[in-house]
C-alpha cells in the first residue's frame, strides 16, 4: 500500500503541476470569453447603437476591414515603445551603476531621479514641446521618462544586494572594481533588473500612447493614440474600440515576451524561474 503511494507520488505531483499550468492559461481565457459574451449579449438585448457601444463582433470586423489604417499605426506605437524601452534599459542600468559607485553620487542624484519620476509627464509636456522640435524625439523622451525609473530603482537595489561574504571574497582575491561589477554585482542584480524590465515594458507602452495624446500628430507617422482621438472626434466608435483592443493586446504581448525572456535568462539558478512555483 505504502509502496504504491511512494511510486505514484512523483507522478501525481507532475500531473498536478501540469494541471496547474493549464489552469493558469485556461482560467483567464474563460473569464475573458465570459466578459465578451456578456458584452455581446447586453448590446444585442438592449439594441445599443454602435456609436455608443459597438458589439464585439463589430469591433473585430472593423479591426479587419480597417487594417490598412490601423496596422501602420500599431507599428508606429510599437516602434516608439520598443525604442523607449531600449533607451530606458540603457539609461536605467548605466545610471544605476554610476549611483552605486559611491554613496556621495547616490545621495546627490537619486532624489533628482525621484523628482523626475513623480512629476506627471503630462504636466511637463508643454515644456518639452517648447524645447524640442522633433516629434519623434519628443515622444521618445516622454516614454523614456515614464519607463526608466523602475529599471533604475530595481537595478540599484539589485547592485546593492550582492552577498556580503561574496564581496569580502572578491576583496580577498584583490578583484578590481570592474571585475567585481562584471562577475558579482551585475549577475546579482539580474533578477531585480528583470522585475524592473517587466514593469518598464508596460510603462513604455503607456508612455508612447500618453505622449502621442499630448503631442498630437505631425511629421512622423501617426500611432494608435492619434487613431483613437480621430475616431473620437468622428464618432467612429468601433474604430476607437479596435485601436484600444490593439493597445491592450500589445501590452499583454510585451508582458508575455518579457516574462519568457526573464525565465530564459535566469534559467536554472534563480528561484523565480523555477518550475512548480506557486
Amino acid at each position: 500500500m505504502s509502496e504504491t503511494a511512494s511510486i505514484d507520488a512523483p507522478n501525481r505531483q507532475r500531473t498536478r503541476k501540469r494541471l496547474d499550468r493549464a489552469l493558469r492559461i485556461v482560467l483567464p481565457l474563460i473569464v475573458l470569453a465570459g466578459v465578451i459574451y456578456g458584452w455581446h449579449y447586453v448590446v444585442k438585448a438592449n439594441a445599443i447603437p454602435p456609436y455608443i457601444l459597438p458589439s464585439p463582433e463589430l469591433v473585430l470586423t472593423t479591426l479587419i476591414d480597417e487594417r490598412a489604417l490601423l496596422l501602420p499605426s500599431l507599428a508606429t506605437t510599437l516602434t516608439v515603445t520598443v525604442m523607449a524601452l531600449v533607451l530606458a534599459v540603457i539609461g536605467g542600468v548605466l545610471l544605476a551603476i554610476v549611483l552605486t559607485q559611491s554613496r556621495i553620487i547616490e545621495y546627490s542624484i537619486f532624489p533628482i531621479a525621484v523628482v523626475v519620476q513623480v512629476t506627471p509627464i503630462v504636466a511637463v509636456f508643454p515644456l518639452i514641446n517648447i524645447y524640442i522640435d522633433d516629434h519623434l524625439t519628443k515622444i521618445l523622451l516622454c516614454a523614456w521618462i515614464i519607463a526608466f525609473f523602475p529599471i533604475l530603482s530595481n537595478t540599484t537595489l539589485g547592485l546593492m544586494s550582492a552577498d556580503r561574504n561574496l564581496k569580502d571574497l572578491y576583496r580577498l582575491y584583490h578583484a578590481s572594481r570592474w571585475q567585481t561589477l562584471r562577475h558579482l554585482l551585475l549577475p546579482a542584480a539580474l533578477p531585480y533588473f528583470m522585475g524592473g524590465l517587466r514593469i518598464s515594458g508596460g510603462l513604455a507602452l503607456v508612455g508612447a500612447v500618453v505622449a502621442e495624446f499630448v503631442a498630437g500628430t505631425s511629421g512622423f507617422g501617426s500611432g494608435l493614440a492619434t487613431r483613437i482621438i480621430e475616431a473620437g472626434y468622428q464618432l467612429k466608435i468601433p474604430r476607437l474600440f479596435a485601436a484600444l483592443a490593439l493597445i491592450s493586446a500589445s501590452g499583454v504581448a510585451i508582458y508575455v515576451v518579457l516574462s519568457i525572456v526573464s525565465n530564459l535568462v535566469l534559467g536554472r539558478w534563480h528561484e523565480s524561474a523555477m518550475e512548480g512555483r506557486r
Binding site: D163, N165, L166, D168, L169, Y170, R171, L172, Y173, H174, A175, Q179, H183, L184, P187, A188, L190, R268, W269, H270, E271
Partner: protein, 244 residues
C-alpha cells in the same frame, strides 16, 4: 572594542583552532588576518614569503560559515573564480579546478548549479574554491557549523587529509570543543568582552587522526581539559586578563 591583547603566533603547517563563545571576536581575528578589516591598534606580521600588498597576506584561502557560492554560476565556474580574478583563462585554470574538485570528491558535479546541491556538497565546493589557488594559509570561519553531524564528521576527515597532503597552515574558528580537539594541533581558548586568548592547549596527538581517535581515552581527556579551560575563561570577570 572587540579584541584586546590578543597575542598569537602560528607556525607553518599548524592547525590552530580558535575556540570560544559567540561574540568573543574569533571571526574578527580571522578577518584581520585575511586583511578584510584593519586593526585599530596592533599589527599582524607575516613571514617574508607570505607577505603581500598593503599588509595583506599574499595568498590565503577563506572558507565562510555559509558556502557563499554564486548562485548563477555552475560549480566549475565557482571554483574558477579566484583564478579568474587573477587573470587565468578557463583553459589555463582547468587543471587546477579539476584537481580541486577531485580532491573534495565532486568531480562529476562540475556542471551543477549550487541550488541543486546538498548543504554538505555546497561546503565542499566552497573548500574546493579555497584550494584552487593552492594557498599556504587557509582561514576557516565555522565552516561546518550549519551541517549535520554525519556530514560534519566526513568533512572533518576530508579536511585533515587535505591538510596533511598539502602542508597548509590552518586557522579554524569553531565553537565546538569536540571538533577543535579532533582537528587541531593547538587550540586557542578565547573569552569575550573584549575578546582575548585565555589559554592555549596543544593537542599532542599524532596525525593523521582517524575516526578511532574520537572514542579513545586521550580524546576524552583533551575534551575535558578544553571544556574546563573554556568554562574558566567564560567565568572570568569581563575585561580582566587571565594569565596565559
Amino acid at each position: 572594542m572587540a579584541l584586546s591583547g590578543v597575542d598569537l603566533s602560528v607556525g607553518r603547517g599548524e592547525f590552530l583552532s580558535l575556540l570560544g563563545p559567540s561574540g568573543c571576536g574569533k571571526s574578527t581575528i580571522l578577518r584581520l588576518v585575511a586583511g578584510l578589516d584593519t586593526p585599530t591598534s596592533g599589527r599582524i606580521d607575516w613571514a617574508e614569503s607570505e607577505r603581500g600588498r598593503k599588509g595583506r597576506p599574499r595568498d590565503v584561502g577563506f572558507v565562510f560559515q555559509e558556502p557563499t557560492l554564486m548562485p548563477w554560476a555552475r560549480v566549475w565556474d565557482n571554483v574558477w573564480l579566484p583564478l579568474r580574478l587573477k587573470g587565468l583563462s578557463k583553459r589555463e585554470a582547468a587543471p587546477r579546478i579539476e584537481e580541486a574538485l577531485e580532491s573534495v570528491g565532486l568531480a562529476e558535479f562540475h556542471r551543477a548549479f549550487p541550488r541543486e546541491l546538498s548543504g554538505g556538497m555546497k561546503m565542499r565546493v566552497s573548500i574546493a574554491r579555497a584550494l584552487a589557488t593552492d594557498p599556504s594559509v587557509l582561514l576557516m570561519d565555522e565552516p561546518f557549523a550549519a551541517l549535520d553531524e554525519i556530514t560534519r564528521f566526513k568533512l572533518n576527515d576530508d579536511l585533515l587529509r587535505l591538510w596533511k597532503d598539502r602542508g597548509w597552515t590552518i586557522l579554524f574558528v569553531t565553537h565546538s570543543v569536540f571538533e577543535s580537539v579532533y582537528l587541531s594541533t593547538r587550540i586557542a581558548v578565547m573569552s569575550g568582552r573584549p575578546g582575548h586568548v585565555a589559554e592555549t592547549i596543544p593537542i599532542d596527538e599524532p596525525s593523521p587522526r582517524t575516526p578511532a581517535f574520537r572514542t579513545s581515552p586521550a580524546y576524552a581527556d583533551y575534551a575535558r581539559t578544553t571544556s574546563d579551560a573554556l568554562a574558566t575563561a567564560m567565568a572570568a570577570p569581563a575585561g580582566e586578563e587571565t594569565a596565559a
